[in-house]
């Protein structure tokens, strides 16, 4: 039997570095705008070039807002059974871009804005062979 091997639930969104994973974003060399994902570009209207270079976004940011979803979302999201309410955070990165991510490593009752969080990779769900499919999540920094 093959060893179970974790992989990204969707490729190209983050690096697979197990210690220090990073989101793969884009940056415009002309107007300085940052994007995530890198294909979804939002340039300044006066941008002269609209060129994009791939950048790895900061791992750490500040929790600007959060919510706790109490009902299982529809597919393609795969919810655990039984469903457990989970947190979603809006995280401000130093680049001046806010990123949404699932919260981990903190009880939903303990979520509060202003805390420092960092990006981790965790299992989103497993495929039919039991391999872990990963996504980015945000975890409070100790």
């Amino acid at each position: 039997m093959d060893a179970k091997k974790p992989r990204a639930a969707v490729d190209g969104l983050f690096t697979m570095d197990p210690e220090e994973p990073r989101l793969i974003g884009g940056k415009c060399s002309s107007c300085g705008s940052y994007f995530f994902p890198k294909f979804y570009q939002t340039h300044k209207p006066t941008c002269s070039n609209r060129g994009v270079e791939e950048v790895l976004l900061s791992r750490r940011g500040t929790l600007e807002s959060f919510t706790v979803q109490h009902y299982p979302p529809p597919p393609p999201f795969v919810s655990p059974r039984p469903f457990v309410p989970y947190g979603l955070g809006l995280v401000a990165l130093p680049e001046g871009i806010n990123i949404i991510g699932i919260m981990t490593g903190i009880a939903v009752e303990d979520l509060k804005t202003g805390i420092e969080v960092e990006l981790v990779l965790e299992t989103l769900h497993q495929d039919e062979k039991g391999n872990d499919l990963l996504s980015w999540k945000f975890k409070p920094v100790d």
């Binding site: 974003g25 994007f35 979804y40 529809p74 979603l88 809006l90």
Partner: protein, 383 residues
């Protein structure tokens, strides 16, 4: 209009045809009087739905008129209205029909268009599972921290709408709620509870627009379109925009910038400002929207919406009656038809045909819709 509800045995065509027939009867017109049509339908109906105007004209009887199909998500219906307005205002045609029709799936609106890894809407469902109320909750919590908005404030928005809806025979939900009932409804996306979020429903509305000269033939008291607005977002809009994974916030850009832009355009083209408005139908997709739109549309300053609501000034007898129809809280949202439902209410109010929910002496009214990915439309009416 075709009433709002769930109609599993009907198609968007059935709803659209019924709405058109009702509008023709109201106007005293025949289908053959219609010289152009602009139509919009949401995404659940394949090619027939993309070409909703053509699908529906086939049933009404094909007359060779210009038909345009419009898609601007939740702002679709108001966008059909704007295009119909331009068709008449430009002098191209004298009588144009605007139609919005929608049959939605039950529950959370799911993903459209398959598993495309370069579609943010797919990624937000796949990687985050963030629902529409999830996005609104992220904004709502920031508002609570910024202005001290309480759960009671959020509940009051539902209560206020439910009082109006109870007086509207067209409304789907006619129960008057109390603050306690709203606060005891299940939590969906903290801090938003079930009764602070609108449901999705089916419905259709047809509106007939004609030149002022032609209108005299059909009615002695026409409602005039004072101005229309259509907006898209501004670079740097801080809103966590529904359907995206990231936002690049700039401090000097208003949130819901597309809605700010569409309302400003409607004020500019009509020459009528928020302070002169006798009533407004705004998009209360959630209680957060109710509060935020009071500010985005300029009915109060930043952080003042809670006080405006609590003071009763948004009730039927208040300074600025909000959602006299009961709004989405009492109808649910039929995505691509909702804007015309709002316009239907404003027109009925200005005609003085609203019975118990009539805003006394209403002469000027506004309808405003909101859609995902930077979409918003508005219209101002007067008599």
């Amino acid at each position: 209009m075709h009433p709002w509800g769930k109609f599993p045995r009907k198609s968007f065509v059935d709803l659209g045809v019924e709405a058109i027939i009702n509008a023709l009867n109201d106007a005293g017109m025949q289908w053959t009087d219609i010289q152009a049509m602009v139509s919009g339908c949401f995404i659940w109906d394949g090619v027939g739905g993309l070409l909703s105007g053509h699908s529906i004209a086939a049933v009404m009887g094909e007359t060779g008129i210009p038909i345009t199909n419009v898609f601007n998500v939740c702002a679709t219906a108001t966008s059909t209205f704007r295009a119909a307005y331009q068709t008449v205002a430009s002098g191209e045609q004298d009588i144009c029909l605007a139609l919005g029709t929608d049959i939605s799936p039950a529950g959370f609106l799911p993903i459209v268009g398959g598993e495309n890894p370069e579609d943010c809407d797919y990624l937000r469902w796949k990687m985050l599972g963030i629902t529409n109320p999830g996005y609104w909750a992220l904004e709502c919590r920031q508002r609570m921290e910024r202005y001290g908005t309480t759960e009671v404030d959020l509940a009051r928005a539902k209560v206020a709408c439910s009082k109006n809806g109870a007086l509207n025979p067209n409304a789907l939900y006619r129960k008057v709620y109390t603050v306690d009932e709203v606060l005891n409804s299940p939590m969906v996306a903290d801090p938003l509870r079930l009764l602070m979020i609108c449901a999705t429903r089916d419905g259709a509305v047809a509106t007939i627009l004609c030149s002022a000269e032609i209108a005299k033939r059909f009615t002695s008291k026409p409602v005039m379109i004072a101005g229309v607005g259509l907006g898209s977002a501004l670079y740097g809009d801080p809103t966590a925009r529904l359907g995206l994974l990231a936002a690049p916030p700039k401090t000097d850009v208003p949130m819901l910038s597309e809605s700010y832009m569409s309302s400003q355009m409607a004020y500019r083209t009509s020459g009528i400002g928020p302070e002169e408005m006798d009533l407004v139908e705004l998009p209360d997709n959630s209680s957060w929207h109710y509060l935020q739109y009071l500010e985005t549309l300029g009915f109060c300053g930043p952080g003042e919406a809670e006080q405006l609501l609590a003071s009763g000034e948004t009730e039927l007898a208040g300074k600025i009656p909000v959602n006299p129809s009961g709004g989405m809280a009492c109808f649910g949202e039929a995505v691509s038809a909702q804007g015309l439902l709002q316009i239907h209410e404003v027109v009925k109010q200005l005609r003085g045909e609203c019975g118990e929910r009539q805003v006394q002496g209403a002469k000027v009214g506004m309808a405003q819709t909101y859609g995902m990915l930077g979409n918003s439309a508005a219209a101002v009416f007067k008599v």
